[in-house]
């Protein structure tokens, strides 16, 4: 590789400028705090310097990627162009690229890597819990592992499905050639990569003890590793807001002729509902984290009850974001489920309107339930019946999703392909997750289950059993379209069965362990729970090992075996499966016209297209 190709706006310059920016900011921060350094010397802690370092580092990273070119050009009134990055081939994947299909694959690999790190943390946590007392990690390391695992998963998985699959397939599904704001689309991805890297730096600054919820005032007492948590979640929040905005704008404005709201694929509806939550909930998170930043760096007292603030304020703001957040995680999974079931039952989606109502209803209701996380906290205890009611009402739209899934299976011709297996497992896991949630929504039961392993197992059933299974369903279903190469079916089935059984063998017992009185996030536990915990740990290791089968399958089938996918291996009637694999850069020669939704199985219409588009050369005259 020649030197010329290394210099320019690419990942290498981004990393160099990011690191340089970090140290420049670190130096600058110490200059700013110079006069008051006496204050910090007592604790050897300089939060201002670290915040400035992260800020300058992220800016440097983005400048290195080339994100500054466009704003600077616009400042001078120069014309906008998408042609900032016209490399061919693999180089496109290592830099700023505005092609929504490249961004989708970038998301898949980038987020996959961070999820893998989060999963490794879980393995280390489970290793510690094989003994009721101290085994390997000291208190601080253990809590940091717990915190990084939770924060990484909750932050990265928000875009876990929307990032790869919505970016790649929503424009195709609605008949567009691009997203409404392609540069913002690329930005959301690279912000996440910067954020994930920042979160990993917490180990260099002593970690953070608060878990992913980061409750005040522990978060103000914590050492500098806490700043990594704040910077991570703020960047993720920004990425989520922009992703939601971009998705909504795309679906509202870029739909092709004939693609009415009533014909949108259900996955696009799930994306819309998720995007609304992202757009409105994430800014509240950013606000809360900025308040926390000010508390830590400028000594304000938002969350400090000794000086006119309140730790309740943080809990309220965090969960006002936090509950929509968990539906940001769940909804895309429902979308994938209902998108895949019709294909492998060879039936139209049953109760399309009900499913859409369910998704929008979940989105709306999720803003009204946040205080159920605070049932025993003493906040507004008299309004708990309202939150109990609203929380239980949210199971109604969730029930819509279930009945639509069951109705779609009715008298279908079910084929047990790997994506279908993951979808059916979704139904089982989410059922357990939903039912265990009822205990948490009921105050008398919540007294036992709140803050215990029961609630931890509950949300792993909904998020891991729901989101991650849907994520894998999406991977096995769509990645052949994205790369052009099939997965190995046999390895896929091994992966599925081991993952499904190990998952239930891990989290099923955890529900019981929680009921028996084991709190979350503890490094020690009662001796009589050791047998159960050892069982869970071993199951968790098997669960982790099943991911290695997936990795082997990914590398084997996509790098070595390379069996071509062809246009439509699943026999789907959705439009993305009428395109070549992988999809060409411009998506469509001509913008298609739609005549139905993508589920005309058993109906006269052969595909969802109203008319066969005329084949024409791809390049029009400029």
């Amino acid at each position: 590789m020649s030197l010329r190709r290394l210099i320019g706006f690419n990942l290498l310059s981004a990393v160099v400028l990011g690191v340089a920016g970090f140290y420049a900011g670190w130096w600058l921060g110490h200059q700013i705090t110079g006069p008051s350094i006496a204050y910090f010397s007592a604790t050897n802690q300089n939060d201002i310097a670290l915040f400035v370092a992260y800020l300058v580092g992220v800016v440097g990273f983005l400048v290195g990627l080339g994100f500054a070119n466009y704003p600077v050009q616009r400042l001078l009134g120069k014309p906008p162009t998408l042609r900032e990055k016209e490399q061919q081939g693999a180089a496109r994947y290592f830099g700023l690229c505005t092609d929504h299909k490249v961004v989708g694959i970038q998301y898949l690999l980038g987020i996959g890597a961070f999820i893998f790190i989060g999963g490794l943390n879980a393995m280390l946590i489970r290793f510690e819990l094989m003994r009721p007392t101290h085994l390997v990690w000291n208190g601080n390391n253990y809590l940091t592992l717990v915190g990084v695992h939770g924060t990484m998963m909750m932050g990265m998985m928000t875009s876990g499905i929307l990032g790869p699959f919505a970016n790649y397939f929503v424009p195709l599904m609605i008949g567009a050639r691009r997203m409404a704001f392609p540069r913002i689309e690329a930005l959301t991805f690279w912000l996440l990569m910067a954020a994930g890297t920042i979160l990993m730096t917490t180990f260099a600054f002593g970690g953070f003890p608060t878990g992913w919820t980061g409750y005040a005032p522990l978060n103000e007492q914590a050492n500098m590793g806490m700043d990594a948590y704040i910077a991570f979640f703020a960047l993720v929040g920004l990425s989520m807001t922009l992703l939601g905005l971009n998705m909504l704008a795309t679906v509202i404005t870029m739909r092709a002729p004939g693609m009415t709201w009533g014909r949108l694929p259900i996955f696009v509806w799930a994306t819309v509902s998720t995007s609304v939550l992202m757009l409105l909930a994430a800014p509240v998170l950013i606000s809360a984290l900025l308040m926390l930043t000010m508390d830590r760096a400028a000594q304000t007292s938002f969350f400090n009850d000794q000086a006119g603030g309140s730790s309740y304020l943080y809990e309220n703001l965090f969960w006002f974001f936090g509950h929509p957040e968990v539906y940001i995680l769940a909804l895309p999974g429902m979308g994938i489920l209902l998108e895949i079931l019709p294909v492998f039952s060879r039936k139209p989606l049953w109760g399309y309107r009900l499913a859409v109502t369910g998704m929008l209803g979940i989105g709306l209701m999720s803003f009204l339930v946040w205080q159920h996380h605070l049932f025993v906290s003493g906040i507004n205890a008299d309004v708990r019946p309202f939150y109990m009611l609203s929380t239980e009402i949210i199971s109604l739209p969730t029930g819509f999703i279930f009945i639509c899934a069951l109705g779609t299976l009715w008298k279908g011709r079910i084929r047990a392909t790997v994506p279908m297996l993951f979808s059916l497992a979704w139904l089982f896991n989410f059922l357990i997750g939903g039912l265990s949630g009822v205990f948490l929504s009921d105050v008398p039961s919540d007294v036992t289950t709140h803050g215990s392993f029961f609630s931890m197992a509950h949300f792993h059933y909904t998020i891991m059993g729901g989101l991650l299974f849907a994520f894998f369903a999406g991977i096995y279903y769509w990645v052949p379209k994205m790369t052009g190469y099939n997965f190995n079916e046999r390895l896929g089935k091994w992966h599925f069965w081991i993952m499904f059984l190990a998952f239930n063998s891990t989290f099923g017992p955890l529900l019981v362990i929680g009921f028996l009185g084991m709190p979350r996030r503890v490094v020690t536990y009662a001796g009589y729970l050791q047998g159960a915990n050892d069982w869970v740990s071993v199951s968790a290791f098997v669960l982790g090992a099943s991911m290695l089968i997936f990795l082997a399958n990914l590398i084997w089938s996509q790098v070595f075996a390379r069996v071509p996918t062809g246009v439509n291996p699943w026999g789907s009637k959705s439009i993305e499966w009428q395109l070549p694999s992988p999809v060409p850069v411009h998506n469509f020669d001509r913008i298609p016209t739609f005549g139905s939704d993508p589920y005309p199985y058993g109906e006269d219409a052969g595909s969802m297209l109203a008319q066969r588009p005329v084949v024409s050369p791809a390049r029009p005259t400029p």
Partner: protein
């Protein structure tokens, strides 16, 4: 259509028979063994509550799982069928959608009303209900202040001269009002067998009521992440007879008499130092 077809009848039969088998097991075998046990009235109420939730869930669970298994077995495409054949084109079925909506709504409303009744009838059901709960037990109460601090709980008995002890001992048969507060970060006071959980927030008096009836010990754990030694923040409390309690508290007062004058005056919450700044 689907409710009249033989498939529909079979799934209905699976649901009814399955529920008929599972429900007695839930009520008579699983229910009585649900946590948190029968040491207090509040805990008994929670066991009832857990059982009722299970009973309501049972038919739904049996229906969905039965349907799933039935669908996977019966609606499976024949093995070796290579040609793709479409299933019936059904885009919905209003009566079954309405039936589902009505059933789930009824269940949800029942659960919400039931939960609210249990919450109020059991005086907050052992949950931390803020400084001034609406539902209070009548009659004399023993106030016990639980002070969360990194990383232990201490207990003050304001009716016994505000003595602060490191051990929680309660008299049996006496209604107790826990006043939970914190000196530093958020903790959560979880007395498992008593069926009590209340967050300890700095500057807040969080009240939970319970009436221990059974003499014995109970576990206490911190249930909210509170920093470095959170995992080691546990303790064992005791419920003793009234006479034993009086002996114990007198001994405690004697033992801590020298410390008593250095303690701050009893108050619903404490601020160690108004100029204290975290961070």
């Amino acid at each position: 259509m689907w409710s009249r077809s033989s498939d529909g009848r079979r799934i209905a039969a699976i649901t009814v028979i399955g529920t008929a088998i599972v429900l007695p097991l839930v009520v008579f075998v699983l229910g009585p063994n649900m946590p948190p046990g029968k040491a207090t009235e509040v805990a008994k109420g929670q066991v009832t509550d857990n059982t009722v939730l299970l009973v309501v869930m049972t038919p739904f669970t049996v229906f969905i799982l039965g349907y799933l298994v039935y669908a996977i077995v019966v609606f499976r495409a024949p093995k070796g069928e290579t040609e793709l054949r479409d299933g019936a084109s059904m885009r919905g079925h209003m009566p079954s959608q309405i039936a589902w909506l009505v059933t789930t709504t009824a269940a949800v409303l029942f659960l919400a009303i039931f939960g609210t009744t249990e919450l109020l009838a059991n005086n907050g059901a052992g949950s931390g209900s803020g400084p001034n709960p609406v539902a209070k037990p009548s009659g004399a109460m023993l106030p016990v202040q639980v002070i969360g601090q990194q990383w232990e709980f201490t207990y003050r008995y304001p009716t016994y001269g505000g003595v602060e002890t490191a051990e929680l001992v309660l008299p049996a048969g006496q209604e107790v009002a826990f006043h939970v507060t914190s000196l530093d970060v958020v903790h959560s006071f979880w007395a498992y067998e008593l069926g009590v959980k209340a967050d300890a927030n700095p500057g807040v008096d969080n009240v939970a009521y319970v009436k221990p009836t059974k003499i014995g010990t109970f576990q206490i754990r911190c249930a909210e992440l509170c920093g470095l030694w959170h995992g080691y923040m546990f303790d064992t409390g005791r419920v003793v007879g009234a006479a034993d309690f009086n002996t114990w508290i007198a001994a405690q007062r004697k033992q801590f008499a020298g410390v008593e004058k250095y303690l701050p005056k009893y108050s619903p919450s404490y601020s160690p130092d108004p100029t204290f700044r975290a961070g």
